[in-house]
């Protein structure tokens, strides 16, 4: 067997691709995941990180709502270390129609979502930051999910089951024999190295970029790129997800995620060519702050850390200019039956919440092609790290008296935190002080999680995601990466790219303390370190 031959090639390192690789690997397939950048760089990492209960879709899209609540319950079981079971509120404000509340609750119940109307006073006690003027509140089983962690855990599980991963590797074309896809041509974007890989089945799991990959394969998949912008606040204002109880609109969800909270989103149709260069506009920032303050008034005076935008991978279906009314439904295309192209499957649509179901559907299609009959087990077997229910339990099992950094590591890595080297000054030294990430944790990520750049490292460890946005941790982490890769020059360039990327997110909200901090960072790197 040639080293470049696999049973299945999955293109796209988002959550759908990583989930599909895990599922395929669990069914005994030899898998290869190819991603042109890093894991979770597209829509996977550019959303709220909301563990939807499905309530948001209950009225307009009952099918998605049902999928959401089922997957919500599954993810709580299999991805405990990626999930924060915060619960959610759907609040009615004086300008909203209170009658909608009953329609909403009825729709939730039909979809199997436990929605409970509660007294506004109870809502204020449950979440003190909520707009005190609310006139109605419904409690739903929303939560928050860390998409980077979830994606990394899926990839890691696939690797532990023999799967291979090629990040920063772009598919440049397909190897075709007649009307059959036999493999892919690739180029490593960092080294320029070209390689061909072969498999009887290739899965296109590229989200919005799936349109391009399909074109390369000679088939057409029309995507509907809808940009959504979000703001990250520098600390948690709320500990319960807050939504507006009305028809889905702009900036009506506030999600607490790890040490921050996120308000979003907007929805604007953009041309496909802009997908790689989305930026947040001043109007979007204004809208997010104004509407966000209606959910939690303190947002108008809370420091903002970053602004970012993602592109929803919606599949084009009708002429709706906003994209709000398109189903978030899952689309799995077998191009053999659709277009007469053998060995090629596209899995798209859907959302972060339903990635596992999408992976199951795609893997079922792969298995049918390969005539493999093995049932899907991804809903039952926990992801690596999620074997314990809570990080308290994890930390207590590993360390007698865990330090804050050890507790934080347990909350990020779950049971995998036991692999962190600790107990000596060097490994316990902090790289990232804002998020409490130690040298040991960074090295554990470098060892196991396919890290080649600082930005990759950030997605796996939260290094640089805190208040200082890389001011102090970036150069320290760069030192560890330079050591791991044995190259100082490359790391110097990487450090520059990383700081530039941090500034990109600071720029749209560049005022006040965030601007002061960015200036200070520039002073440190440019004038002190000579970068």
């Amino acid at each position: 067997m040639n080293a470049n031959e696999f049973d299945v090639i999955i293109i796209g390192g988002g959550i759908t691709g990583a989930g599909t690789q895990r599922d395929c690997a669990m069914r005994g397939l030899r898998t290869l995941l190819i991603e042109r950048s890093d894991i979770a760089t597209g829509a996977t990492g550019r959303n709220h990180g909301l563990l939807h209960s499905g309530a948001r879709y209950a009225v307009n899209d009952p099918e998605s709502a049902e999928e959401c609540i089922k997957e919500n319950m599954i993810l709580r079981r299999i991805a405990a270390h990626c999930i924060d079971e915060t619960d959610g509120l759907f609040i009615t404000l004086p300008e909203d129609d209170l009658a909608y509340q009953q329609t909403f609750v009825d729709a939730c119940r039909r979809a199997g979502i436990g929605a409970e109307i509660i007294d506004p006073e109870l809502a204020r006690r449950m979440e003190p930051s909520v707009n005190p003027d609310l006139i109605g509140a419904v409690k739903v089983p929303d939560g928050s999910v860390d998409p980077f962690r979830l994606c990394a855990a899926n990839m890691l599980d696939a690797k532990l089951r023999g799967g291979q991963v090629r990040l920063h590797t772009e598919v440049t074309g397909f190897i075709k024999e007649g009307n059959t896809i036999k493999g892919v041509h690739t180029v490593n974007r960092q080294t320029g190295e070209k390689a061909d890989y072969y498999a009887p089945v290739t899965v296109n799991a590229c989200g919005i970029w799936g349109q391009h990959i399909a074109e390369l394969a000679g088939v057409k998949v029309g995507m509907f790129p809808a940009k959504g912008a979000l703001l990250i606040f520098a600390h948690r204002v709320n500990n319960v997800v807050i939504n507006r109880c009305r028809k889905p609109a702009n900036a009506d969800i506030l999600v607490p995620g790890d040490t921050v909270c996120v308000i979003g989103t907007t929805s604007t149709r953009i041309p496909f060519e802009e997908c790689d260069h989305v930026a947040v506009t001043p109007d979007e920032v204004t809208l997010l702050i104004t509407e966000g303050a209606k959910l939690a008034p303190s947002l108008s005076s809370t420091r903002i850390l970053r602004a970012y935008a993602g592109v929803r991978p919606l599949v084009s279906a009708d002429d709706d200019p906003s994209g709000r009314n398109i189903s978030r439904g899952i689309v799995c295309l077998d191009h053999e039956t659709r277009d007469g192209l053998k060995g090629f499957i596209t899995i798209t649509g859907g959302k972060l919440m339903t990635y596992r179901l999408m992976a199951e559907i795609a893997t079922d299609a792969v298995c049918r092609k390969l005539a493999i009959e093995k049932a899907c087990e991804t809903a039952d077997i926990p992801l690596p790290g999620s074997e314990e229910k809570s990080y308290e339990a994890v930390a207590q099992k590993i360390w007698e008296a865990p330090t804050t950094a050890q507790k934080a590591a347990a909350s990020r890595m779950g049971t995998r935190a036991s692999r962190i080297r600790t107990g000596n000054k060097r490994d316990d030294a902090l790289i990232c002080e804002c998020e409490e990430v130690s040298v040991g944790e960074i090295n554990a990520a470098i060892d196991r999680l396919e890290v080649s750049t600082l930005t990759d490292l950030r997605r796996r460890t939260r290094v640089g995601m805190g208040t200082c946005q890389g001011e102090f941790c970036a150069c320290r982490a760069a030192g560890l990466l330079a050591k791991a890769h044995g190259c100082i020059e490359r790391e110097r360039k990487d450090l520059e790219d990383f700081l530039q990327e941090r500034w990109k997110g600071n720029f749209p909200i560049g005022w006040g303390d965030t601007l002061r901090e960015a200036e200070y960072t520039q002073w440190v790197y440019k004038h002190v370190l000579g970068l």
């Binding site: 600390h235 005076s301 420091r303 409490e436 200070y520």
Partner: protein, 405 residues
Amino acid sequence: MKLQEYTESKHNFEECMKCTVCTAYCPVLQANPLYPGPKQAGPDGERLRLKDPYFFNQALKYCLNCKRCEVACPSGVNVADLIQSARIKYDHTPPKLRDVMLANTDFMGKLARPFAPIVNGVTGLGITKTVLDATLKIDHHRTFPKYSGTSFEGWLKRHRKEQAAFPEQVAYFHGCYVNYNYPQLGKDLVKVLNALGVGVQLLEKEKCCGIALIANGMSAQARKHAEHNVEQLRQAVTGKGLKVVTTSSTCTLTMREEYPNLLGVDNADVRESLLLATRFIYEKLEKGAQLKFKPGYHKKVAYHTPCHLEKMGWGIFSQKLLQMIPGVEFTLLDSNCCGISGTYGFKKENYEVSQAIGEPLFAQIRSVNPEVVACDCETCKWQIEMSTGYTVMNPISILAEAIES
């Protein structure tokens, strides 16, 4: 585009630029590696604690609450307040018997005063110290301050009439130390103020300011003290139109800053009228009041600014008063923490850290070799006296000694 006009956060923690100056200035961090340092314990830790109280770190108890981090911070973050607030909010460990005893300074004072000679004799004994060390973990190097047989309150009540005769009046918050341990300081203040034509009266009924209660995890009790004292201050300030003076820098800081910032007790209407006596006296002299100094007075004085006075920015008043005294040979000691921080240094587990923190100060005192060290804080006094053998006097006492009676 809508810009945020301002941002707010609890004790300004979001204004932290992570510059780490606070950490460089923290006296504890240099002596105790178990302490995470003010930046970690304060603004950094706060974000994690807001996520989940589980991330509260017990090592925050090593913070002295000296406030040097706040003085150092160029961004106006109330670092020490963040740390102390976190302790109040998240640390539910019940205080040990020892801590309860150390913290209830006024209760212990009341208990001990009638038996002062016996108590003083017993606490001074080596065997007592050994026993306290072994049982309560109060370090055997420490000597408890001596209790006085008569309280300051008793003494002043006896002189009420003559004090009332002065045309100008001021209320005096004497604190536990002056009342139970060292009434002479109170008497010295009365002498100086009388010389300026100011009569001294007591508050209706003051309670311990409560700093030791806050430090030892008894914030609910401290809040009761705060509410009581603010009410007492209010009677004097808004009721009688008086200024209230103190001779302890820590009591002053506690009532001015810790009450609203840590205990949530509003003191806005009385805060500006509560002054350290040296500031009150300095301002009087500035306006033209005169003190008559003894001819031929001479004293070599080295002044140590207590951390809490530095936080208030008032060290200058005590320094200037001392420098004003003819015959005082004045040295301003470098800005250093003495390491005791009230009850902190009495605890066996903190003794070594406490002494290590204070060593630069002690070394400088030895090299200056003054006749006395001057300082506005009673616990700094105990620490410096125990660690260097030099006598420590409150600037008010030096002033009293230098003026004509």
